[in-house]
Symmetry: C2
Subunit: 292 residues, 2 copies
Amino acid sequence: MDESSFDAALSELQQDRVHGASELARRSLELLGRSAQEATAGTVAELRRTLELRCKRLAACRPSMAPVQNLLDEWQQALARRGEDRLAEFRSAAAEEARQWVERSRMALRQVGQNGADYIGADKTIITHSLSSTVVDVFERLKERNVRAVVSESRPLNEGRILARQLSQWRIPTQLITDAQLGLFVAQADFALVGADSLLPDGSLINKAGSCLLALAAREQAVPFLVCCESFKRRRQVMDPAALEEMESEELDAPRMPGVRVRNIYFDITPAKLISGWIDEKGVHRAAAVRC
Amino acid sequence: MDESSFDAALSELQQDRVHGASELARRSLELLGRSAQEATAGTVAELRRTLELRCKRLAACRPSMAPVQNLLDEWQQALARRGEDRLAEFRSAAAEEARQWVERSRMALRQVGQNGADYIGADKTIITHSLSSTVVDVFERLKERNVRAVVSESRPLNEGRILARQLSQWRIPTQLITDAQLGLFVAQADFALVGADSLLPDGSLINKAGSCLLALAAREQAVPFLVCCESFKRRRQVMDPAALEEMESEELDAPRMPGVRVRNIYFDITPAKLISGWIDEKGVHRAAAVRC
């Protein structure tokens, strides 16, 4: 994988508005695996420098997404632990490590889905916002267990419709609503359930803008608000709200008007106090107490 | 105004998604004024019966909108107080009463705008949801006083863009956001300000879906949430949430999917406890205490 094809792949990751943070983390690892095998290098040291630089660029391209940073760190630490290799050996070992971390990430996702489905159980209505691969996994496991769904469209790109289509294929009875109706429909649900782009050290949630509104409405209606995500989505540092990614204003498809700035911040922060429980691959971690 | 042209006008009112409840109430009165002058009738009693029937049909066509009911009641009561008239006299008097109630409604709106602008004052940022004629009036009065705006698009029909265009013409610096970003942007505002489709007897607000989410986010960020509307928007009875108007699902422009029901409830209810103050033509009524 030469510099220009890496650049093209990086740009694609940066533009990706459809896939969640874990999927993009796995795609980043796959790019690094291919880089390890194919990047031009005369020595192991040279290849290590190239890979390190590519890791940095990958992590920087989606700053709101902790799993990208976390999985790349795991991979780099594994490589750092290796002794002296010959170049060919190092290439294979680095690619194999990348493959293994992709696989660990997929296994964690499935275990989160299992834990979520076990916790929620049969005959329930789930309201969700945006499109999360862990939430999709929970629905798949509950599809024969009389689950029902309320799904918001999730402006500006309406990825809620992608989720609705999947639920339709699984014959899960679904109501599709505007984001503005989240407050109206949360009362119909047994659980509000969302994925995460990342978690802050205190358990606060960074997820698609609107998640915080769903959490507020859920608290108001005494509906438990659950977050399901793999543990490597946890950030090690507190995040500055100013660092939340903003995307192209054109996505809102609003007419241009002098003096009107169209804003398109993709993520909001849901404070930990609004979260009733966190579901990861190890189990369900319930809030000590639900505070108002 | 014969039966078929009345039917056509009624259908137009029923389909109207752009104008607020007060404007539709005034249009209803204008229809009745024209009916009083033009409807076929041989006697005053016959004309009264026709007008009474048309009042009922107008009130029933927009059940979420209290001002339609309230203004038509005022007009009917004024007519009921009249003694025996000759037909021609009754026609003119009924039309004149309708004209006067339209004018009273417009004056009340302007007074609400004045009271709102006085209360909010100069150098403030206001966040709002949907399109309200009283909120527009407040902005007009503050346009030379360094007011700034955050406006949500207000799906499904994006009437927030109409407001943004008006603010742009007044050179008011404006940020236009998706409804899902209300939670992110409320912290930038000094006040959240919305109009009302109606108020319940306890002060709870019926307004465009999403208003309740803005109120919840405003409380979370300690931003005062104000409602500005004329006093005749107050309902005399508690309203069943099930009676909130639902519009055509096609407005969401979502693809058809088996088992997926697209929902389009236009209004939500914001409990009175989330409201910091009510601004009407008589002044500002502040909440006794802001409860959590």
